[in-house]
Amino acid sequence: MFHWLEKNPFFFAVGVFVVIAYAGIVEILPDFAERARPVEGRKPYTVLQLAGRDVYIKDSCNACHSQLIRPFKSETDRYGMYSLSGEFAYDRPFLWGSKRTGPDLMRVGNYRTTDWHENHMLDPTSIVPGSIMPAYKHMFNNVADIETAYAEAYTVKKVFNVPYDQPDMPKLGTWDEAQKAVLEEAKPIVEAMKSQEVKEAYARGEIKEIVAIIAYLNSLK
């Protein structure tokens, strides 16, 4: 049979494809819907949090930080309750990471504050002596892309039925409503920060990247 296949490239290619494809079918397809079900009480990200999540992705925070707590005592002691599948139901893409050069961030919102993050992003070693994390000063200058974040939320609502605008769920509304909601949500964060630039920008109606990413990090619980 193999000799025959080696003389018939078409059937050879079909053979290879079948042999490599079925593992994916068996592993990935069953339970697809089951695994995508959110745990009770889980809410999708607000537009501001999504904008922060986009900053997190833009600067590849996931290259050094995981968001997956494994079910070991050493991990639950350090980071909190281990991860459940349904907690990731609104994560597109998932951000588990594959390397912990820095600590896990899955529940960082439980034990870090806006103030902590602000100082840490400006100069990590001022808070954690010996830290090898770079400072992310540019997040204080760059303006967060709220428009794209809104487009993202709108897309997942339309295409994947993510439950925005439903009882007890974050409101998405129209673009105008969303802009107002973003400013309102950003307000306590800006107030808790020291940076004058960020405050002035907020007064002009601009949200800096640092505000968005802090909103996102604070939401990780």
Binding site: G24, R35, R78, E152
Partner: protein
């Protein structure tokens, strides 16, 4: 051998891809060394504002070496080997010639835009699949062009039986096509919402499903680029360079079909103790162990090809490169399964042992094989002997030293880190804060970066030797049958 004298093989596309491999090798490895030093000396993060941080550069390093260096090497060897094992010249078909050149230039354009977009932070965050949807489409077109060339050439072949290398090239083409398509399924947000950045997209899969698809891809992109396509090369170049027949046809059959059958299952070992169903984690673990068989099958087949001819190791540095490549292949395909055992994975996952493992495969196996293939092709493509055997010897030892420094320091770093994360005192409290487990690694990061630097220096020696071979070496009249001619 009569026919190979008659057919006039055309190497124009193989040459272009060889230059691309060298270019992206320097860029990708250069960034790699730089970010390795950043981990030891964080001040290096501030040389280029937001574009110079470790986190921005890391995807550039991985994409640069995988899709720049390795893939160019794979394409270069295809445009060289394909013709010769199918006994047909690309020059015989103007259409395939055109496709080959289009393939190259489109590939360069996509790579160039990819580099710019990754610097700018345009990313989907998925490892080795960071490119946004417009570039994904570009990648697919480039890939299809390669397929057209491959199956076109197979269609007009004179040698009816497909040689082992061609099996592996076909598998590379099909495997990567399937994986890339499914992992990059994303919805462009602009087309749904009509606002925001036009190139932004959101993944079709959420959370655990997304992770599953990503590591099914991530692991097997490794399989089909770092492994399958490199085996394609060694099955051609080692027998050709040494003048020895492949040791066993049956072993190559077993290894090929075994590898195809088993590899795709092993992706689950990236997700052990995560939230994917337990049976998948176990399958990933078990199949990773089974994977030793076909992996070692290929490697042993190659080593035994040298049976009775080990003297060639002394005389021919190319053989040395390829034998060490097979050895590193065996090494990393035993290390990987060990890390897939659940209890070992609990310790090793998320630590530096993982990049250590990746690099003894990529530097030792992929890098050495790619460079050996290019050394073998150079005298035949440029009709000149290799410029300097001495330089090859020094390159070999400098790079081997680099690899040893790299993986040994990362083993120690990874295991140290893993042990410290879980260490508790007599009352059961964690012994170390996280930062303790970072600062303790700095010396190993220095050693690792220096190992990488040695490898990069070796790559510059290779580049110089290759360039001199092209331009200043002694011309040869007849194409060498086996061992590549080289000046002392």
């Amino acid at each position: 051998m009569q026919s190979s004298n008659v057919i006039n093989y055309d190497y124009s596309v193989a040459k272009l891809f060889s230059y691309a491999a060298i270019l992206f090798g320097i860029i990708g490895m250069g960034i790699g060394v730089f970010i390795a030093y950043q981990m030891a000396f964080p001040e290096l993060n501030y040389l280029a504002g937001e574009y110079g941080t470790f986190s921005r550069l890391r995807p550039l390093h991985t994409s640069g070496v995988i899709f720049g260096f390795m893939l160019s090497g794979i394409f270069a060897t295809w445009y060289y080997v394909g013709q010769r094992v199918l006994k047909v010249s690309v020059a015989e078909s103007p259409f395939l010639m055109f496709i080959g050149k289009l393939h190259f230039w489109l590939y360069m354009v996509v790579m160039l835009v990819a580099v710019v977009s990754l610097f700018a932070g345009v990313s989907t965050s998925k490892e080795y699949a960071e490119l946004e949807w417009p570039l994904d489409i570009g990648v697919v077109v480039v890939w299809v062009l390669w397929g057209v060339h491959m199956f076109g050439l197979i269609g007009i072949r004179r040698e009816k039986t497909l040689y082992i290398s061609v099996w592996y090239y076909i598998a590379t083409f099909l495997g990567v096509a399937m994986l890339y398509l499914f992992n990059n399924m994303e919805v462009p947000t602009y087309f749904v919402a009509g606002m925001g950045k036009w190139y932004h997209s959101v993944s079709m899969y959420a959370g655990t499903n997304d992770a599953l698809v990503q590591w099914w891809y991530g692991h097997n992109a490794v399989a089909f680029i770092f492994t399958v396509a490199i085996i394609a090369q060694i099955y051609y170049f080692l027998p050709k360079e040494s003048g020895q027949p492949v040791y066993s046809y049956k072993l190559s059959l077993l290894s090929f079909w075994g590898l195809m059958f088993v590899y795709l299952w092993a992706g689950g070992h990236h997700l052990i103790y995560s939230t994917v169903p337990d049976w998948m984690q176990t399958m990933g673990s078990i199949f990773s162990i089974v994977l030793i068989l076909p992996s070692w099958g290929s490697a042993i087949n190659m080593l035994l090809t040298m049976k009775g001819e080990w003297g060639q190791l002394k005389e021919n540095p190319l053989i040395k490169f390829m034998v060490l490549a097979s050895t590193f292949y065996m090494f990393s395909t035993i290390e990987g399964p060990i890390q897939s055992i659940k209890s070992v994975n609990a310790l090793a996952h998320f630590t530096d042992w993982i990049p250590g493992h990746v690099h003894d495969g990529t530097l030792g196996w992929v890098g050495f094989m790619t460079m050996a293939a290019m050394y073998h092709m150079a005298p035949r493509m440029f009709k000149r002997e290799l410029y300097s055997k001495k330089l090859m010897e020094s390159q070999f030892w400098i790079q081997t030293t680099g690899i040893v420094l790299y993986f040994s320091s990362m083993w120690i770093a990874g295991i140290t880190q893993g042990m410290m994360w879980r260490a508790t005192d007599q009352f059961g409290n964690l012994s170390y804060s996280f930062i303790d487990t970072v600062t303790v690694l700095i010396p190993y990061y220095v050693i690792r970066a220096t190992g990488g630097l040695l490898y990069l220096i070796g790559f510059f020696i290779f580049t110089y030797n290759f360039y001199k071979t092209m331009t200043a070496s002694k011309a040869i009249e007849n194409e060498p049958q086996h061992a590549s001619p080289m000046a002392a």
